[in-house]
C-alpha cells in the first residue's frame, strides 16, 4: 500500500519488518504516521512514500513498539524486538493426549531450566516419578521411573528406538537440543502403542517446522561444542543438520585414570519434503562415546603394578538411517518409519575383549482413524529384525571392567550370533463419552527367541469434571522380552529365557485453581514377576519378583515466556524378592523433591533455580573381608542386599543468562552454578583394602560453569 504525502521531496521506499534476532518477517505489522495507519503484507513487506526523516511508528502484537525515521533510500529493514509476552497462562492439564499418565516438556522449559545445560533428557530426573541419581556418579545416567530398572525403559526419537540415551556419565543426551520439539515421558500404564517394556517410555519428537529462512546455531560450554543448521531449500524441501563433540580430550588427553579422556559426539541430518499435510523425511543420525582408562584403579596399585596396569579401551556408538512419513487426512493420520540401526559396544584389554554388534531393521506404522465424532481408532504395527553378534574372549575374570563389559567381568568366553524378530500389533479405540474418554487397548507382542506370543489388555479412563478438574485412571498388563545374551549357552548358563510381566495400575487427578495454578496427584502400583537380576560380573538370577508403590504430588504455574515453576514430591517404595528374600530395589527412593523456577525478569534476562533433595539410593554393605591367600587380596563378604542407603542427595542449580539480540542473530551467554551441600553428594562407597573401613566418595561441591549459544 502506498501512502502519498504531498511533499515535493517524498521518496518511495520499499521495506520489510523483521524480528530482531531471528530476522524472520513479521506479518501484518501496523505502520503509523500521525493518525494515518496501514499494514504490512503477510511477509512483513511495505512501501512508503514519505519525506526522509519522517518518524514512522511500527506496532505489532507481542513486539515492543518502535519508531524509526524514513531513510534517505531503500530498501528499509526494520527490526522489532519481542516484547514481554501478554502473560499467557499455560495450563498443562489442558493438553489432551490420548494417554492417562504423561509428563511433557517443551523447548521453553528445557532451555531455561538450570542444571540441564539445555539438554532436555537431563531434565528427565526433574520429573515426577523419576529417581534422582548423583551427578557424575556411575549411576548418574540410569533412568529409573516408578521403580523400574534402567534396562526396563525404552527411548525413542520420532518413533525410532535408540540403543542408549546418554553420553558418558550423563554429560548429555545423544541428540542436539535444537532438534527437539518436545519430550514426553510415559511413566507407566501407557496405552497400546508401546510394547516390550516393563518400565517407562521416553518419546522425543524432533522439530519438522519449516523455517522461513536459513537458521543456524552454535553452542559452546565447558564440556562440548556444537552447531546446527536448518535450510529451506525450496517451498517443499528443507534440510536440517546438527553436530556436537566434546573437546576435553583435545586439551589434555590423559590423567591418573584415563589415557584418553572421554570423547563423545553426536550428529543428525535430515532431508524433509512437506506438501500440505504430508511429509516425508530421510534422516541419518548417530552418536558415539569413547575413552581409554586403566583397568585397575591406579590409586590402589603400587608403581610397578601400575606400570603393568592394562589399558581398557571402550568404544560405544550407533548409526541410524531412516525414512519417515506422516500423512494427515480428513479421516485420520498415518505416520511411520523404516529404519536401519547399527550399534556396537566394544571393550578391549590386551588379552581379553568383548565385542557386541547389533544390526536392527525397524519398521513401524501408526494410524489414528476418525470413525465418528465419538470414536477414534488408533492402531499400529511394528517389527524389529535384529542380528546380534556377541564375542567375548576372556583369559580370566576382569571385575575391574564390570560396568562396561559385564561378561568380561565373569571371565567367560563365547561367540554367539543370534537373529531375532520381535513384532507388535495394537488396537486402541478412543471413545469420547461426553466428559469422559475411554481408552481400552489390546497389545500383541511376539518374539522369535522365546517363541512367545503375549496378549496384553490395557484400559485407561479420563474424566473431565467441569473446566478445571480431571480424573485419570489406568490399568494394564505389560511385558518385556529378555535380552538376547540370555539365550547364550555360556552367558545364560542354560537359563531358559522368559518374558517378564508386570501388572500396573495408576490413578490421579489434576486440578487447576484460579485458571492458572495446577495441582496433580498420582498414585501408582506395579507388580512384576519373572524378572532377571544380573549384577555386573555375576551369573543372572531369574524368577525374581518385584513390587513398586508410589504417590506423586505436583504443582505447576506458568506464564508463557515470562515465568514457570513446578514442584514435585514423590513418595515410593520398590522391592525385589530374590530366592524368597525381599529387599529394596536398586533404585528404591522413598522420597524425592524437585523444585524448578525460571523467570524472565527483563526482556533479555532470565534467572533460573532448581533444587532437588532425595533419599540416597540403596547400597549393599560389605560386612567383612576374607583374606584370599592365593591372590593376596581381600574378598568382600556382603550384608543383606541393598540393606543400607547412601546419604540423602541435595543439589542447587542457578542459571543466569542474557540475550544479546542482534539484527540477524542472537547470542546468549549464560552462567550456571552448581552447589551440593557437604555430605549430600556421596556418589558411591569405597572400602579399605581389607573392608574394615568404608567411606563415601563425593563429587565436587561447587562448580561454576559458563557457556554461550548463538543463533542466526
Amino acid at each position: 500500500m502506498i501512502l502519498l504525502v504531498g511533499a515535493l521531496w517524498a521518496v518511495e521506499i520499499q521495506g520489510q519488518v523483521l524480528e530482531r534476532g531471528t530476522a524472520d518477517p513479521i506479518p501484518e505489522v501496523t505502520l503509523r504516521v500521525g493518525d494515518t495507519t496501514w499494514s504490512t503484507t503477510a511477509d512483513g513487506r511495505f512501501t512508503v512514500d514519505l519525506p526522509a526523516g519522517t518518524p514512522v511508528d511500527f506496532l505489532a502484537g507481542g513486539y515492543t513498539p518502535y519508531t524509526e525515521p524514513v531513510p534517505e533510500a531503500g530498501p528499509w529493514r526494520v527490526y522489532l524486538r519481542r516484547g514481554v509476552a501478554a502473560l499467557e497462562v499455560v495450563v498443562e492439564a489442558r493438553r489432551d493426549p490420548p494417554v492417562v499418565a504423561e509428563q511433557h516438556l517443551d523447548r521453553e522449559r528445557v532451555l531455561e531450566t538450570p542444571g540441564t545445560f539445555e539438554d532436555p533428557v537431563r531434565l528427565l530426573q526433574a520429573l515426577a516419578g523419576v529417581a534422582q541419581t548423583p551427578e557424575y556418579a556411575p549411576t548418574s545416567g540410569d533412568i529409573s521411573v516408578r521403580g523400574s530398572q534402567p534396562g526396563d525403559n525404552r527411548f525413542y526419537l520420532d518413533g525410532i528406538e535408540l540403543p542408549y540415551l546418554y553420553h558418558y556419565n550423563q554429560y548429555s543426551s545423544v541428540f542436539h537440543t535444537r532438534l527437539l520439539d518436545e519430550l514426553s515421558l510415559y511413566p507407566s500404564t501407557f496405552g497400546g502403542a508401546w510394547g516390550d517394556t516393563l518400565g517407562a517410555v521416553i518419546d522425543t519428537r524432533s522439530t519438522w517446522t519449516r523455517p522461513a529462512r536459513v537458521h543456524g546455531s552454535a553452542n559452546l560450554n565447558l564440556v562440548m561444542g556444537g552447531a546446527s543448521a536448518e535450510v529451506p531449500v525450496s517451498e517443499a524441501w528443507t534440510l536440517r543438520a546438527s553436530g556436537r563433540r566434546s573437546y576435553l580430550d583435545l586439551i589434555d588427553s590423559d590423567s591418573l585414570q584415563y589415557t584418553l579422556f572421554p570423547v563423545f559426539y553426536d550428529w543428525f541430518a535430515r532431508a524433509e519434503h512437506t506438501r500440505g499435510d504430508h511429509r516425508v523425511g530421510i534422516a541419518t543420525f548417530g552418536a558415539g562415546d569413547a575413552y581409554d582408562r586403566y583397568a585397575g584403579e591406579p590409586t590402589l596399585l603400587d608403581p610397578w603394578e601400575q606400570s603393568e596396569n592394562p589399558v581398557f579401551t571402550w568404544r560405544q556408538d550407533f548409526q541410524v538411517l531412516a525414512v519417515q512419513h506422516r500423512d494427515l487426512t480428513p479421516g485420520g493420520s498415518f505416520q511411520g518409519h523404516v529404519s536401519f540401526t547399527a550399534s556396537r559396544a566394544d571393550g578391549d584389554l590386551p588379552l581379553a575383549s568383548s565385542h557386541d554388534r547389533t544390526f536392527t531393521l525397524q519398521a513401524r506404522e501408526d494410524t489414528v482413524a476418525r470413525v465418528s465424532d465419538a470414536l477414534d481408532l488408533a492402531a499400529g504395527a511394528e517389527l524389529r529384525l535384529m542380528q546380534e553378534h556377541l564375542v567375548v574372549v576372556a583369559d580370566r575374570p576382569w571385575p575391574e571392567v564390570a560396568r562396561e563389559a559385564p561378561f568380561l567381568a565373569r571371565g567367560l568366553s563365547t561367540d554367539d550370533r543370534t537373529i531375532r524378530a520381535i513384532g507388535g500389533l495394537y488396537a486402541e479405540p478412543r471413545l469420547d463419552l461426553g466428559s469422559a474418554r475411554l481408552l481400552p487397548a489390546v497389545r500383541l507382542d511376539v518374539d522369535s527367541l522365546t517363541r512367545r506370543l503375549r496378549v496384553d489388555p490395557r484400559l485407561g479412563v479420563r474424566w473431565q469434571i467441569g473446566e478445571w478438574t480431571r480424573l485419570r485412571a489406568a490399568a494394564g498388563r505389560y511385558g518385556q522380552f529378555p535380552d538376547t545374551w540370555l539365550a547364550s549357552p555360556v552367558l545364560g548358563g542354560g537359563t531358559e529365557p522368559v518374558s517378564a510381566t508386570s501388572t500396573q495400575v495408576a490413578a490421579g487427578f489434576d486440578q487447576t485453581v484460579a485458571q492458572r495454578l495446577e495441582f496433580g496427584v498420582d498414585g501408582w502400583a506395579r507388580w512384576m514377576r519373572d524378572l532377571l537380576v544380573a549384577d555386573p560380573g555375576e551369573a543372572p538370577i531369574t524368577g525374581v519378583e518385584g513390587r513398586s508403590l508410589g504417590l506423586s504430588i505436583t504443582s505447576r504455574y506458568r506464564l508463557r515466556e515470562v515465568f514457570f515453576t513446578w514442584l514435585s514430591v514423590d513418595l515410593s517404595r520398590t522391592t525385589r524378592t530374590i530366592d524368597g528374600v525381599e529387599s529394596p530395589g536398586d533404585y528404591d527412593q522413598p522420597f524425592a523433591v524437585n523444585y524448578v523456577a525460571s523467570w524472565t525478569f527483563a526482556p533479555t534476562w532470565n534467572l533460573g533455580l532448581r533444587y532437588r533433595v532425595s533419599a540416597g539410593l540403596p547400597v549393599t554393605e560389605v560386612v567383612d573381608g576374607v583374606y584370599d591367600a592365593v591372590s593376596d587380596q581381600y574378598l568382600p563378604v556382603y550384608g543383606p542386599r541393598n540393606g543400607s542407603r547412601l546419604p540423602a542427595y541435595q543439589k542447587v542449580d542457578l542459571h543466569l543468562e542474557k540475550r544479546f539480540e542482534l539484527r540477524r542473530g542472537v547470542i546468549t551467554p549464560y552462567l550456571e552454578a552448581w552447589y551440593v551441600p557437604k555430605g549430600s553428594n556421596t556418589m558411591y562407597l569405597a572400602w579399605s583394602y581389607d573392608y574394615d573401613e568404608v567411606q563415601g566418595v563425593s563429587g565436587p561441591g561447587f562448580i561454576p560453569l559458563v557457556g554461550v549459544r548463538g543463533e542466526i
Partner: protein, 327 residues
C-alpha cells in the same frame, strides 16, 4: 605410614567434572599395623598338607600371647600357627585367627599341590634417592646405584631386592613405617619417610623415627605357593648392630663373629625384644629350646613374629643366633 593417596580434582577447571574426592584410609595393604593375616603357606608333607600362618599381632614382630589359629578343610580341623591337615588338593582351606579382641579370616583355595617360592638371596643397600623420588619413573629409580647395607638416614632410601629360585612369583611389600615405591615383581625402594601423595605429586614428607623399621616381603605365585621374609631397615642406628637372617638388632658387642649367644630382654620397639649380654659362640649348640624350636639350633626370630610363643615365654632365655655384628 605408607603413601596416602587422595583422588583429587584435575588441575584444569574444565575437568573438575570428572573429579571425585575421597579421604585416604588409615591403613593400606602395605601397612603392618592392626591385627591381620599377613600370609598363609601350605606345602605337601608326609601327613598331608603342612600349614603355616603369619599372623601380625598388631604390636610388632612379637605376640603377647599366641593367637588362636584354627584351620578347617571340610570336616577336618587343626589348630596353631603351624599345623598339618590330612588333605590333598584340590581343597579349600579356611583359616580363622584371633587374639581374643580381633578376629580375621582367610581362605586358601588349592587346585594343585602348592610350591612355596624359595628366596635364594636378597639385597639391602642404601641409595641416594630422596622422598621426592617416590613418584619418579621406575626406570630412573632403577638406575640409582645401590650402596652398602648400612643404616639409612632419616628421609633416605634403601633398595630391597629378592632373588627367587624360580621366576613367576610376585612380591607384596609391607612395613611398620616408611613408604614403598616398587620397581618390579621382586624389588622395591623403601623410603625412610612417610610420604603423602596428592594426584601423584608429593604433598608432604615426614622422616620416620630413628631406630629399626621392619619390612615383610610376601612372595606368592598366584597358585597358592606363598612364602615370606622379614627384612629390617635400620634408620640412623649408631653403634654395633647384629645382622641375622634379615633382622637387625642394636647390640653392645665387638664387630665380627658368626654365632652369637644372648639373653632375651623386652623392648618397646617393633621387635619387642632386645638382645642382652651378647657374646661370641662357637656354634648353636648352647641355644636353649624356646618358642617351639628345638635346643641346639640357631634361633629363628620368625617363630616369635608368627606367634609360636608369647614374648614373655622367651624373656630370660639364653639363645644363639647365626649372624654378624657390624660397626
Amino acid at each position: 605410614m605408607g603413601a596416602s593417596i587422595r583422588l583429587a580434582a584435575l588441575p584444569v577447571l574444565l575437568t573438575l567434572l570428572l573429579a571425585a574426592c575421597q579421604e585416604p584410609f588409615a591403613e593400606d595393604r602395605r601397612d603392618l599395623a592392626s591385627f591381620r593375616i599377613v600370609g598363609v603357606q601350605a606345602r605337601a608333607g608326609s601327613g598331608g598338607l603342612d600349614l603355616r600362618a603369619f599372623v601380625w599381632s598388631g604390636h610388632g614382630l612379637w605376640h603377647p600371647a599366641p593367637p588362636e589359629v584354627v584351620w578347617t578343610a571340610g570336616e577336618l580341623t587343626a589348630t596353631g600357627p603351624t599345623a598339618t591337615l590330612p588333605v590333598a588338593p584340590p581343597v579349600d582351606i579356611e583359616l580363622r585367627a584371633s587374639d581374643g579382641e580381633h578376629e580375621e579370616h582367610a581362605v586358601l583355595a588349592l587346585d594343585a599341590p602348592p610350591v612355596p617360592p624359595v628366596v635364594e638371596s636378597w639385597v639391602r643397600g642404601t641409595t641416594e634417592l630422596e622422598a621426592s623420588d617416590v613418584v619418579a619413573p621406575i626406570d630412573e629409580r632403577r638406575a640409582a646405584p645401590v650402596g652398602a647395607d648400612v643404616p639409612v638416614a632419616p628421609d633416605g632410601a634403601l633398595r630391597l631386592a629378592l632373588s627367587l629360585q624360580e621366576d613367576g612369583a610376585t612380591t607384596h611389600w609391607m612395613a611398620t613405617d616408611g613408604t614403598f615405591a616398587e620397581l618390579d615383581a621382586t624389588s622395591t625402594d623403601w623410603f625412610a619417610s612417610r610420604v603423602v601423595l596428592d594426584d601423584n605429586e608429593v604433598e608432604s614428607s615426614t622422616p620416620v623415627d630413628e631406630g629399626v623399621v621392619s619390612t615383610v616381603a610376601l612372595v606368592f605365585d598366584g597358585a597358592g605357593g606363598n612364602s615370606w621374609i622379614t627384612l629390617d631397615a635400620a634408620v640412623a642406628v649408631l653403634g654395633p648392630r647384629l645382622y641375622t637372617a634379615g633382622r637387625v638388632f642394636p647390640v653392645d658387642a665387638t664387630p665380627g663373629g658368626e654365632f652369637w649367644s644372648f639373653t632375651v630382654g623386652t623392648s618397646e620397639t617393633v621387635a619387642g625384644i632386645e638382645l642382652l649380654d651378647l657374646a661370641p659362640a662357637e656354634d648353636a649348640s648352647a641355644s636353649e629350646a624356646a618358642c617351639g624350636l628345638e635346643a641346639g639350633v640357631s634361633f629363628d626370630f620368625a617363630a616369635l613374629a608368627e606367634g609360636w610363643c608369647a614374648r614373655d615365654d622367651l624373656v630370660g632365655a639364653r639363645l644363639v643366633a647365626r649372624g654378624e655384628v657390624l660397626p
